[in-house]
């Protein structure tokens, strides 16, 4: 099952639409790592709302995606982890440490927008 990847502005958005095999996950990882430089993306969103299971292999692959893309100079955010999936992941001992996550696509885009501003461009708020 191929995961469609859309380009929106400076971001790539991969929307998982059904259960993925280990092979599908590896292909998604490799495609994202390659595409991020081809389209000069600054951020990547992986939307996993449709996944009913994120097991140890899926977690490791998502973590690898985020770390590889960071090495390529862009940011990754995983969005849409369902509550029961989060529960199972934690019970299993999986935490996605060092990987940004957001509630949904909207929050993910907002996260990347904030990240993109970077130091020096930050809007100062006066208290």
């Amino acid at each position: 099952m191929q995961v469609p990847i859309l380009k929106q502005g400076a971001y790539l958005i991969a929307t998982v639409q059904s259960a993925l095999t280990d092979e599908d996950l590896k292909q998604l990882r490799d495609t994202l790592v390659e595409r991020v430089s081809v389209v000069r993306a600054r951020g990547v969103i992986v939307d996993v709302t449709a996944l009913d299971v994120i097991d140890s292999f899926a977690t490791r692959t998502l973590r690898d995606v985020a770390h590889m893309i960071r090495l390529r100079g862009a940011e990754t955010v995983i969005v849409g982890i369902q509550p029961e999936v989060a529960f199972s992941m934690v019970k299993l001992g999986l935490t996605l440490e060092g990987v940004a996550t957001s509630l949904d696509l909207e929050e993910g885009l907002a996260y990347l927008d904030r990240k993109g501003k970077g130091p020096g461009h930050e809007v100062r708020t006066h208290r």
Partner: protein, 138 residues
Amino acid sequence: MKFALIADEVRVSIDSDSDIVAARQKGRELAAQCGFPSTDLAVVATAISELARNIVRYAVRGEIILRLIDDNGRRGVEVVATDDGPGIPDVTLAMQDGYSTSGSLGLGLPGVRRLMDEFEISSDFGKGTTVTARKWKR
């Protein structure tokens, strides 16, 4: 058999990574039939995924047997993962978090034990491994 069977058991032969997905989907369906809450459906499906992957990774092929069981009115799902692969040389070590001989995260077996209510493992070095795990409906 230890428990009464509520429905016919479902057997899924495992020898490729697409069988891992098939097994966990069958398990989820079965647990849904039994009326498990959605959190436990994800828990059972995740446990099956880990057990099926162990078969593909270490034994190449094997079988996942799924049963709806009844223990004096208490209902549950029993997952049996069985293979005639190389077996586990040191089961105690394999049950430790972070121990892996394959470069994985090493959370599979101890993780399954945490996810499910009951967990049994028997492994004969050179002959194969059978893991039985149960989740009871609360």
